[in-house]
């Protein structure tokens, strides 16, 4: 199995396979032998030599975001399947950015008009969820090309709200 990990500083390709009841992970030309067991879902006990390292995989991969904690260090990972990545890259190629609802909620107010120029960080619309009003902001400066929702409309998680280009 092959796992790609990408951080701002570096990128690692890890080749991992089972051997003699343990795992061998090959990375950057080095080889690490780890024994893993899963006492509880989401909790992985790694025996690395005499060291005991508890790894936790927390969060919600469906929402695209998990935290893998190894010892005291937390790695916040964005998990995307190929379909999402394709769409994201398509849009990136055109210089278009999609604003999607990260969870179900209600659009209470639109703050910018279709066709108007927007600044990075400017509020585009207000989404209410869990009794809190949250401004959905422009991730980059550009033009508000499309708005796919109306005020008062209920939206589901992942639903396309607007496009900035």
């Amino acid at each position: 199995m092959r796992i790609e990990l990408e951080s701002e500083a570096a990128q690692h390709l890890v080749e991992i396979e089972e051997r003699d009841g343990g795992l061998i992970a090959q990375v950057d030309g080095r080889s690490y032998e780890v024994k893993v067991f899963t006492p509880e879902p989401g909790v992985y006990t790694l025996l690395f030599g005499q060291q005991v390292i508890e790894a936790r995989v927390e969060g919600n991969a469906q929402a695209g975001s998990v935290t893998v904690t190894v010892r005291e260090h937390a790695w916040h990972l964005r998990v995307r399947d190929r379909r999402h990545r394709r769409r994201a890259s398509e849009m990136g190629a055109e210089g278009r950015v999609a604003l999607t609802a990260r969870m179900p909620g209600k659009v209470v107010r639109l703050l910018a008009e279709v066709g108007s120029p927007v600044q990075a960080g400017q509020g585009i619309l207000v989404l209410e969820a869990m009794k809190m009003q949250n401004e959905v902001r422009a991730p980059k400066s550009g033009r508000l090309a499309e708005v796919h929702v109306r005020e008062g409309q209920t939206v589901g998680a992942g639903e396309l709200l607007a496009v900035i280009e």
Partner: protein, 504 residues
């Protein structure tokens, strides 16, 4: 006469907290629930449960009329409102009294006076409790708001006249921000409290948010139970609280406590309540508002005083006199609380809904957990994202922090995003550990944290190997192993017809 049956007009962890207090007092707990909450923990632990409406709280948990009707039908003598929802609604408290039931909280007259924050400020002036400069009444419109803001000087704070908990609250730094901020604050106030009124206060720079817990009986006795430090906030919502405040001393505590007691007396206050203050860098304190209810963060006071505040609420509401004198209240050690929210700290604290898959909660010396959820529970978008609270007590603040640190490390919640990973970082921050916090601490921490992470963000080969091993195990487990938490069948070796022999 102690109640035999209490209706709890709330949900989540506070409903569970009240159920436990009822159990201790031999009172039968009755709950109400919305269609979204049939399988919720508060329903599971109650003796009786009544469906009162669809998921949105305006159609269920805010329907005071239905709740009173249920209380009557169930034969409950009293209603505990918890916090939020109807807890600070004087009209509801009055309707409860009119229905011949007891409202477990302050009398409605005191609530009415203190609930309108502008009236509360006037009352504080009378009781010689210092207040923050600002309006005495809700703003009428944008022009009015602009005029007042100019007068007290930017930055100003917009606040919902009817409520608390950070809802309907906005910091406004400049005139340009005012129109949008006012509209959003009013809309939130309307949604949360069914009242769009908003007022304006001068924003105090780098203030600490301190609150004093009080208990008052019907016979004029009032005591204070020490302060809580609630400066760790995000968007005016409390996140981590402690008792006592690390920088406080007995003299200042007594002065603030006595101010709180004066205000309570002036308002004819009864039952449990909290008087909130801002404390500036010169240790001057200003009255902010009264929270006429039990608060989310009440456990830290319980842990340092040994007094069960919810039990006292019930006893006081039943007409018992206060059994504590001021001299009975002794602080022991230090306690700290982390509010675990279903929010994604890596995604601008966006609320996170969905099923809780794993829920491993810490336990052990000095650790208390007040939870409203369980593994398998679906966190809904309809309500406040507070899932549970971790509380740690220690002989010293230092020990309480150390205990919270391992408690956070032992906590695992999967399926939804929570604020747990962020708290683990906060509990390693030297400023926080040294008690150098004010209400701006968290946003500063979040900004610096991003940078700190980026600069130290080198993923070593060894870490990569370990992360990959965990992810490999996660995917392997999915694809072939049965989940270890699934019990092996206790029935599968039997036929569909089985015979049970009881020893009874």
């Amino acid at each position: 006469m102690m109640f035999r049956k209490i209706l709890i007009a709330n949900r989540g962890e506070i409903a569970v907290r009240v159920i436990r207090a009822c159990r201790e007092l031999g009172i039968s707990p009755v709950v109400v629930y919305s269609e979204a909450d049939e399988r919720s923990l508060h329903v599971r632990l109650a003796d009786e449960a009544y469906l009162i409406g669809p998921p949105p709280s305006v159609e269920s948990y805010l329907r005071g009329d239905r709740i009173i009707e249920v209380a009557r039908r169930a034969g409950a003598e009293a209603i505990h409102p918890g916090y939020g929802f109807l807890a600070e609604n004087a009209e509801f408290a009055r309707a409860v009294a009119d229905a011949g039931l007891v409202f477990i909280g302050p009398n409605w007259q005191a609530m009415e006076q203190l609930g309108q924050k502008t009236q509360a400020r006037a009352l504080a002036r009378v009781a010689e409790v210092p207040v923050v400069p600002g309006t005495e009444e809700p703003v009428r419109d944008l022009a009015h708001a602009q005029a007042i803001a100019e007068q007290v000087g930017y930055p100003v704070m917009l606040k919902a006249a009817a409520g608390g908990g950070g809802k309907g609250m906005r910091l406004v730094r400049s005139p340009e921000e005012l129109p949008n901020a006012l509209a959003m604050a009013q809309a939130e106030a309307q949604a949360a409290f069914n009242d769009p009124s908003v007022y304006i206060e001068k924003a105090i720079e780098r203030p600490r948010h301190i609150e004093m817990q009080i208990l008052a009986d019907r016979y004029g006795q009032v005591v204070y139970l020490g302060e809580r430090e609630c400066s760790l906030q995000r968007r005016h919502q409390k996140v981590i609280e402690e008792a006592p405040a690390s920088w406080n001393d007995p003299q200042l505590r007594r002065r603030m406590g006595e101010a709180a007691v004066r205000l309570a007396r002036a308002a004819g206050y009864t039952n449990a309540g909290t008087v909130e203050f801002l404390v500036d860098e010169e240790r001057n304190f200003y009255f902010l508002e009264v929270n006429a209810r039990i608060q989310v963060e009440h456990p830290v006071t319980e842990m340092v005083t040994g007094v069960d505040l919810v039990r006292e609420q019930i006893r006081l509401a039943a007409g018992e006199p206060l059994r504590l004198r001021q001299s009975d209240i002794q602080l022991r050690g230090s306690a700290i609380e982390c509010r675990i929210y279903a929010e994604d700290p890596e995604n601008d604290f966006f609320p996170s809904a969905g099923r809780i898959e794993t829920l491993r909660l810490p336990a052990g010396p000095g650790i208390r957990v007040d939870s409203g959820v369980y593994a398998g529970w679906d966190v809904s978008i309809h309500y406040d994202p507070l899932l549970l609270k971790l509380i740690a007590w220690g002989e010293t603040r230092q020990q309480a922090l150390e205990r919270m640190r391992w408690a956070l490390e032992e906590t695992v919640i999967t399926g939804i995003r929570t604020t747990v990973p962020l708290y683990r970082e906060i509990f390693r921050d030297p400023d926080f550990l040294a008690g150098k916090i004010d209400t701006g601490y968290l946003s500063r921490f979040l900004a610096t944290r991003g940078e700190a992470l980026r600069s130290s963000g080198e993923l070593l080969s060894r870490d990569a190997a370990l992360i990959a091993a965990a992810l490999f195990a996660a995917s392997e487990r999915e694809s072939r192993e049965p989940a270890p938490a699934t019990p092996p069948s206790i029935w599968k070796w039997q036929g569909r017809l089985f015979r049970l022999m009881s020893r009874l």
